[in-house]
Symmetry: C2
Subunit: 263 residues, 2 copies
Amino acid sequence: STRIFTVANQKGGVGKTTSAVNIAAALAMGGLRTLLIDLDPQGNASTAFGIPRDDLQGMYEVINHDLPLRDVLVQVSGYPDLYCAPATQSLANSEVELVSLVAREMRLKKAVTNFLNESAEKNQPFDYVIIDCPPSLGLLTLNALVAAKELLIPIQCEYYSLEGLALLLHTLSLVQEHLNPEIKLTTIVLTMFDGRTRLANDVAASVRQHYPAELIDIPIPRAVRISEAPSYGQTVMTYDPISNGATAYMAVAREIANRGVGI
Amino acid sequence: STRIFTVANQKGGVGKTTSAVNIAAALAMGGLRTLLIDLDPQGNASTAFGIPRDDLQGMYEVINHDLPLRDVLVQVSGYPDLYCAPATQSLANSEVELVSLVAREMRLKKAVTNFLNESAEKNQPFDYVIIDCPPSLGLLTLNALVAAKELLIPIQCEYYSLEGLALLLHTLSLVQEHLNPEIKLTTIVLTMFDGRTRLANDVAASVRQHYPAELIDIPIPRAVRISEAPSYGQTVMTYDPISNGATAYMAVAREIANRGVGI
Ligand SMILES: Nc1ncnc2c1ncn2[C@@H]1O[C@H](COP(=O)(O)OP(=O)(O)OP(=O)(O)O)[C@@H](O)[C@H]1O
Ligand SMILES: Nc1ncnc2c1ncn2[C@@H]1O[C@H](COP(=O)(O)OP(=O)(O)OP(=O)(O)O)[C@@H](O)[C@H]1O
Ligand SMILES: [Mg+2]
Ligand SMILES: [Mg+2]
């Protein structure tokens, strides 16, 4: 059955989008049918795939106006097995409007469930769904936590990164208790790792100690090629496939696929 | 009269907290009485000043329960002219509760105005108030935009940084039109600048072209000493005062003070 990941961390700039985009691309390069859902009003994941955000319908219409997910799907050029449900500018209005809607936390789950059922009936099942979240624990991230079966937390190897973890895990336990008993924290990825600094090594050591089972101990290095790729509308996988950034994300994706949902 | 800055950008991890904390510290080192208000539930600014966040009352009680700002103020050790109104864990509940409160966008403004009036009466006026915001355009950031007279936008020298600017400036114009005609975008600071990369130079050139008057053209370099400082509960100003990060923030603070509100 389809693995559904939410990539979340309310700390900003920790590599949520970069991890979601590059892991999705790597899985698709391995022949796995993958859908990336961009739930961040900034639409950075849509940009990373070179998808224009102006005149399209996107995740706002899906979540707030019950448009079927299949109607917003875009096939990502250069990756036959990769699709994206983009975030358009209007998604910025979503959270405020969701507050007073019925079943406000369940809207994405309904859309994703319907879509996956349709795909299976058409004999084009998806292997992975990856949801990129904004840097907050508001209703968009809650929708993602309800729709998903697995949580992937990117942790930047910097001091502030561990601060917000307790709040994120507390939110996860509330979701498990009241909205989605199925979701589990299965994957932690270390991002922007600069092995020359004491700080990065300290953070990595702390994560290894506290989350040995969830951690994929292949730190993603801080690498300029990774941050340059989106300016060409590409992922680092195609922008510079032999760079250490691309090979690290490839190895992380392979480990995710190999582990299965075992934890 | 007191200059009141909001440091905002919904893009995550662009250096809002790092800029707010180090500019506030630099102003205080120059003998200017400065208050930093931590409006981010993550409380990174409070951490940077070494303020414990567990058992205190903080900005949640001020905004949601009308506690006077003076009751949460903490004098920052090592800086006689620097005070902080910390964010405690409970601030995470603030936005959801604010939605249904009367005058929900004006609560911080009221608290700040009362506080500044009291301080003036006691002959201890403040020269600067700096408000650190979370990475979103929700009710906490709106409260900050309503309470402030000036907006300072940190722009990380990376590709995604310019994407969100239009949305931020649109939100600013809504606030100017309906809630606070006084606020102006007066200051833009370039952060995490690595002059060796084409990307950083492209972003800097673009900002110089579009916002020549607002930009303080002293890019803050990407520097490990800046990101290490919070792990010692210090700002880089005292952690490593002769580092290029500290001297850059010192120069930016001096430029802010010299310019006055002229723009
Ligand atoms: N391993 C890396 N090496 C170098 N730069 C990186 C790396 N990973 C991410 N970046 C850059 O760091 C910045 C932040 O990353 P990204 O936008 O993916 O984080 P995010 O958590 O999605 O941010 P937000 O909280 O705004 O959604 C981006 O400019 C990105 O290009
Ligand atoms: N000039 C710099 N050089 C190196 N590291 C930096 C620099 N400025 C900030 N950092 C580091 O980058 C990370 C992001 O910075 P910071 O937390 O200040 O951003 P922010 O915009 O406040 O994030 P958020 O959106 O989560 O509030 C932090 O780990 C910080 O220590
Ligand atoms: Mg992102
Ligand atoms: Mg911050």
